[in-house]
Symmetry: C2
Subunit: 463 residues, 2 copies
């Protein structure tokens, strides 16, 4: 009942929002106010649901009627792909006003994700310094330290005393209050990073000390080019909430927070999951049907080719199959079960790779560990399905063929499944995307081949 | 080459470590020192790889030779399941010494994950207050605010002045330095939470003010029973790095950090991915073969039953199949392709559920959005595979049967795939675990049925 009421009230909200966005209301200040009131009554998820239902043009229209600060608040509630498209649909001037309000890392992400022409138009509307800074940040690949870092840092000179520092911080209290950072970085001449300081440690420091004396000297820092994978390892190794980023000349350029790294790696994990299911792009059901259909077909058409290749093995043995028609009942089972066994081995390798317990070159280690499991599970599953087949056909030899094929193919599947992610990783192809279809094509072919060639060999016993 | 050298040096490290753990070396102080030196030369991932290769008894032996502080450092580098088993294998006294050194949330996690008898023995070795506190924390389910919170907080009285607070903080500087928190919580009588204060804001506050005047009053807080899902939504909505946790009487009991929530939800996402691949428990290849084999078979044996059910449709139509043997080539393709289409729809629903864009009751919305995609993709894929089939058999009607079955089954698969996660969520079953096998069983049956019943109807045209 509650859910139904929620749905009704949401579709009412949507209608009210669309009414407020009607052209005749366009110029009245009261409409902007009414929109603000309406949005303020929704939580983040309700906002996302309602706004995602609007066509992109109306989303842009909505953004342009809000103050840039409110527009930023709204964008934060939307799925990334929706937010980007809405901003692209804005005039360059309106988009620039919004970009100006964003924190530095989000500015770079948005500009980097936008269509190149739209991005250039927005940058042209910003003041030169800001545009240059954003363009520099956006040039870093998204999943590197440079792409994840924020440039808002408190940088203090090493030769300053605690007293002057406190005085200066108090003078800039408003800016400091807005800046949600807990650490200051201590730099020498030329912005060279020499130390790090918890702001709260200034509370308990002698006023006459120099920062150089109370800072933690030679702090760990990372290069702006460090990839996400190494960042995850870095934060696993060190219990930091953030780490300073330096350029190739050891100059402080920003900080990467644990939060940014966690979010990027979480997004990657769930995107890996979707990819393994064949959803490659960031599909939302609020997108147009034809576009969603096209995105899914891209993956499905690769799959159909792989399927045709695997099925050609059956076609090759069609004579045997027509004589032992009972086999046709068991072929899909053999291929499906082996696929499952192989995917388990894929998942364990993916996990060990990401935990750092396995290196991409260690295929021998994987095989030595998978062979035992593959043999045992192959014998158990082959024994089970073979027994079913023997009873079904009333022919012991059919049981031998079906059970034998499943046993052999289970071993093949776990050995192959264990090393496919390693090979793809070495070849710099994303294992989450390609492991499963590659594996199932090969195990389908092997399974069909094992069952049908064995049946051909034993044909007179099967008839 | 590098990888090979690494592997060689690691197996040498392992041998040296095992030599140091030999019984004859047991009591010598020099062996403890040598072990420390050896471990210090490894980074977190190398440590994990080498230590995971040791049998559990040797892992425990290793822990017992280190100081409790060093043992904690080592445990942090190990995969959770390995760490728990190693601690379980320790004497209760050694385990208690290590537990005593852990931060409060890790204490509770470890005790909660240990075998109940072992956990009770460890608690009995700790002092009464600590044991009670840990047992209380461990009683909260793992993925709730209570299970994720840390109890180390700075709680300050509302009536204290900035001056006395600073004096007190300076007096307790060592403790504060160890405690890596950035916020203090302001409490009234009876530890009732009334405000929150950034420690660094004390830097810029008037010394005479009372904390009640400079704190942020009526801070948001959450209940200790809040589940992970709501915690994720909470941190999505609010840009906090942590949030205070209160018990049922509004008393401050701890804080949950964004980091703890991010880690728990990241772990859940990647565990969802593994579950979708049929790896249910936390398998590592360093575990014994029989145990790994048993864990995987649990899932595979469910699958084999589902497969037998689906294949029974083929058995039912065996007569038709023996007359139109070419169909046997296409049956596995029809079931596999529909399974892929359905899994895409599952993945989009899972994502929209977790983004909060979809409610578990909105199956009508899913159907209205999936029907179009299913129709288009069904026609495209059915057209493709039907053409292949018609040419392969030299019979237009076989193309109609194969293409028609794939088209219908694609539509069925996307409609079903879209709502299965919703239904499982309503039934409080984990969608990541059960969606895929349920879906493929039903789509296999439907696909086999569509193709074979259609072929039976059109039998005279196919011969």
């Amino acid at each position: 009942m509650d859910a139904l009421e929620d749905a009704v009230s949401e579709s009412e909200t949507l209608q009210r929002l669309q009414a407020l966005l009607e052209p005749e209301d366009a110029s009245s200040a009261s409409s902007a106010e009414a929109i603000n009131l309406l949005l303020a009554s929704l939580d983040a998820r309700e906002t996302a649901r309602v706004v995602c239902e609007l066509p992109t043009e109306q989303q842009a229209d909505l953004l342009s009627r809000l103050t840039p600060e409110d527009a930023v608040g709204l964008l934060e509630d939307l799925p990334e792909v929706t937010a980007i498209e809405a901003v692209e649909a804005l005039s360059a001037e309106d988009a620039a006003a919004i970009v100006h309000e964003l924190p530095s890392d989000d500015q770079a992400d948005l500009i980097g994700a936008m269509d190149a022409t739209a991005a250039a138009a927005v940058l042209a509307e910003l003041d030169e310094d800001e545009a240059e800074r954003i363009a520099e940040l956006a040039a870093y690949p998204e999943d590197t330290a440079g792409g994840l870092m924020a440039t808002e840092v408190v940088a203090l000179r090493d030769i300053a005393t605690v007293e002057t520092t406190l005085r200066r911080l108090r003078a800039g209290a408003t800016r400091l209050r807005d800046l949600d950072v807990q650490y200051a970085y201590v730099v020498a001449k030329g912005r060279r990073l020499v130390g790090v300081l918890r702001l709260r440690d200034l509370l308990v420091a002698e006023e006459a000390s120099r920062l150089a004396d109370i800072m933690i000297a030679d702090p760990l820092s990372i290069s702006a080019t460090m990839p996400l994978e190494e960042l995850v390892a870095f934060f696993d190794e060190h219990a930091f909430i953030g780490v300073p980023v330096v350029d190739s000349e050891e100059r402080l350029v920003g900080t990467v927070s644990r939060r940014a790294v966690d979010e990027a790696s979480e997004e990657q994990a769930s995107s890996d999951y979707r990819r393994s299911m064949g959803v490659v792009a960031e599909e939302l059901r609020s997108m147009p049907t034809l576009r969603r259909s096209r995105m899914r077909l891209a993956w499905l058409s690769v799959n159909i080719v792989l399927n045709v290749i695997a099925a050609s093995v059956i076609a090759f043995y069609q004579d045997t199959l027509s004589q032992v028609i009972a086999l046709a009942v068991f072929l899909p089972m053999i291929s499906d079960m082996s696929g499952c066994s192989g995917n388990q081995s894929v998942a364990v390798s993916m996990r060990e790779l990401s935990l750092g317990l396995l290196r991409p070159t260690e295929w021998l280690r994987v095989w030595s560990k998978e062979a035992g499991v593959g043999l045992i599970n192959g014998l158990v599953l082959g024994g089970l399905l073979g027994t079913v087949a023997a009873f079904y056909a009333g022919n012991l030899w059919l049981g031998v063929v079906v059970g034998g094929a499943l046993a052999v193919n289970t071993l093949v599947a776990v050995l192959l499944g264990g090393v496919i992610p390693l090979a793809l990783k070495l070849a710099k192809v994303d294992p989450a995307l390609a492991s499963s279809p590659l594996l199932t094509t090969v195990t389908d072919m092997c399974g069909f081949f094992a069952a049908l060639s064995l049946a051909t060999l034993l044909l007179d016993k099967l008839l």
